[in-house]
Symmetry: D2
Subunit: 275 residues, 4 copies
């Protein structure tokens, strides 16, 4: 049977993936949630019509949003993940033995449930005792936190729907307050081919708040254009000046110590967005 999921990543371009069956399909309080069994990518989580993660390529995003800040920080103990209900960031965070507590604040409890059921390889660590899962508004959680976290990752959807507040300068200011004095923050900041203006804006906004602001990239085949960016804001630690001895062996499929540096070497047209 010819059943295909198509995501129009722009009005005029998209990806299309063969679907064996839908595993879940519901309107939650916050968004349309669909879980698809695809032939190419395994199970795929789709929110409001956009691919969030898949069993086959989730490792890229989750490793790169996690290990870059976690190895930049000399001793991350308390970590916050805003969004990220699929549990992939949490899984990577726990690979760092220094982390004593990882808090996940996801606004949509249905995303967590669906991921536990249909994406076990991604969500498997959500029940780890070092993890605290809160179904709550990340924006409000940040507003109430002060000098609490070493590292914060913002693993949000696009700046539409429930995530719209997570792309504002006020939010970044809140994050700065919620971080300890040498804290580090990373947010996914979309792709430079179709969303150059967004990257530019996020970079400008973060730069006004964090002395060290840097953009880095990773290849995610199911995300628009395949070239994804992350914006990192740091109060003290420079990701490009991490001592060799800071790194320790963790099991990864994408991240390497060499890539930790190399991912900050931007294509010229992306670099230009940060100037």
């Amino acid at each position: 049977m010819d059943l295909w999921y198509t995501e129009k990543q722009t009005d005029d371009f998209g990806i299309t993936a063969k679907v064996k069956r839908t595993l879940q399909s519901e309107k939650t309080d916050f968004q349309q949630l669909d879980m698809l069994e695809t032939k190419e990518w395994g199970n795929m989580l789709v929110l409001d019509g956009m691919v969030m993660t898949t069993e086959k390529d989730d490792f890229v995003y989750h490793e790169m949003i996690s290990h870059v800040p976690l190895f930049t920080h000399p001793n991350p103990k308390k970590v916050l993940v805003v969004g990220g209900g699929d549990g992939g960031v949490i899984r990577e965070v726990l690979k760092h033995p220094s982390v004593e507590k990882a808090v996940l604040v996801e606004i949509d409890g249905k995303v967590i449930e669906a991921s536990k059921q249909h994406l076990p390889s991604i969500a498997g660590e959500l029940t780890n005792p070092r993890v605290e899962v809160k179904v709550d508004d990340g924006f409000m959680h940040i507003a109430k936190s002060e000098a609490e976290y070493d590292v914060i990752m913002v693993d949000s959807t696009e700046p539409v729907g429930p995530a719209v507040n997570l792309f504002t300068k006020g939010f970044y200011a809140g994050i700065a307050k919620a971080l300890k004095e040498d804290g580090i923050f990373v947010a996914q900041s979309d792709n430079p081919w179709f969303k150059a203006d967004l990257i530019k804006q996020v970079h400008q906004d973060v730069l006004e708040i964090f002395p060290i602001t840097k953009l880095y990239t990773a290849n995610i085949p199911t995300y628009p254009s395949g070239l994804w960016t992350f914006t990192l804001g740091s109060k003290q630690h420079d990701p490009l000046k991490v001592g060799q001895d800071r790194f320790h062996q963790i099991e990864t499929s994408y991240y390497t110590q060499a890539l930790h540096q190399a991912c900050f070497a931007l294509p010229k047209f992306v670099e230009d967005l940060t100037k």
Copy 2:
């Protein structure tokens, strides 16, 4: 009007692009050639149903296949491009003032004509006096050449149809013979998500012939998975040991001096293909 071009990059996954009109569509002696005016990517050259290049993202591929070997070589004078009838590699090669002669050997003259007509920003330098264009079989041209070229780029289609010979060890041996004693060669070697075995094979084959064999990557949004690889074989010069003074300013949109190094830092699962 809803007119969409879809490339199934695998049996179960693909890209889809809105088309305003077809500019050309013919069966040449070698392949099906289609030139599409797309809304997202501008004019797009499609051979045997696969995207070859587009006006909007051509710069990535053409810069990265060219400048990495050309800056690795201390003084490239004579350069050969096998395939590449769209002229994009030639355009980049000519940015290097040391190059006295660039030879293009494209088997399908129709590709050259179509590119000149519909992709002027890509094919514009094919008439440059430093360029010699031959409509000929690249495999045969290589077989007849000896110690002639400083740098050879293999800008071929997938290893099906006319390009099948260009992915054989015999061809790489021929290239080694056609190169001068400190010559360098680069071939596009597809993507690691869907064609891991091909990358592995090419790397093994080239490694048996060239003492310095390295894989590097670039993000090309209209190519399968968005993550493209290039395999570089070099007789003497190591691309990672290029002196700072070797670089000179050229106008690029993707390539930078920093990326020249960084593009060799591979994602772990890609690095594993080279071991």
Copy 3:
């Protein structure tokens, strides 16, 4: 190359046809005009994203909108076609030797030109000396005509864009005025699966003006649902009471004398729309 034209006939359903090339694609003063070379249907005229006619199945629509009223009228001499710039209705009208003059009033001259160039088997009779082609607003032409025509066919697009006036009671009243005292009129009135309300409305409106109002159907595979309706309004002559001797042999591929009766036997759910 996988190039497909898709017409979403509703928000949730459509047809899709493989395209070899676009033959023409332009924004006219009135609409978007595309001429496609399809593999299944031959050349296909698309206006504002909707299939108007194709070389392979045009005969159904053009025969059925023409021969039913023309055989119902005892002696049609002067015939008007409103719309129908592709010339298909004209071709069928001229098969009736009684017709001395067939006037075509098409608002968009580009449709006529494109059809002459790319649909010769349909548009071929537009240059027949019995035909008068006017590039003009059909609504205005009707408004200026009085007791002039024996038969009028309204071969319009959907009631959006340039054709919106052609689905109003005022227009039907104008047609009654433009017809002679025993004149007959037919309008295409869309399909009962997706546009039941439209059929109902047209039938009601025509019925208030024409004593004999009847709906009939034909199967057109490239039109929404495949089941097309025509609304016929007649001042005196009943299409179901045509004498056997009225019919004469004409060459057709769809219309037959038996179908002239049978096409008025409606599926129950369609019949219900006329009550």
Copy 4:
């Protein structure tokens, strides 16, 4: 979420329908069975990638394959349905009070189960005491029957896969034997736009066995071309010579007494297939 089911009805043409979710998807012993919840057509049964029936338009096929032969026969008591596991033909058969027993022989029990679960408005009468359901090979059941049935309907899939034997002259001969001396048989015989040769062959084969052989049509929007044919073979009773008093009131959405005649008036190009 953009999830669409596409049926390529030919290599170059098809329909496409938006899907909310898959309700069932499994490989049975005989075929791939998919049950889709579509937005336009309600639940849709798909076998081996082809639409079998939908909640919205099932009435056309099921009424027309049933009531035409059942009203042609003066007193049908025992009826056989070969295939038809969705139960739609049975539902219509039971509207005839003369029918004492309706036997359904469906080779794939999974089709029956899936229809009971997901197509209750179609399959609802399968548990009626007048109905006997056998999960068995229709070809073998026919071979073992002799002078047993008044009316037989062959409600099969396309002549590929499990249904291939149901389009052979040997099968029609078996049906003749299984029917009583004034029995009537109907088989769906595909569409004249894409399968003209099949219609021609079936008509020829049935004509050699049944003195009265006639083709009739109905509009089914989810079937290829929208114009479907049925081939009727009768030993004595002519469907066009049914007395007015034979008809009685039944509830239908498509079939009417007038259509009983009119559906045999074929488009010229379809009529030509019967000569």
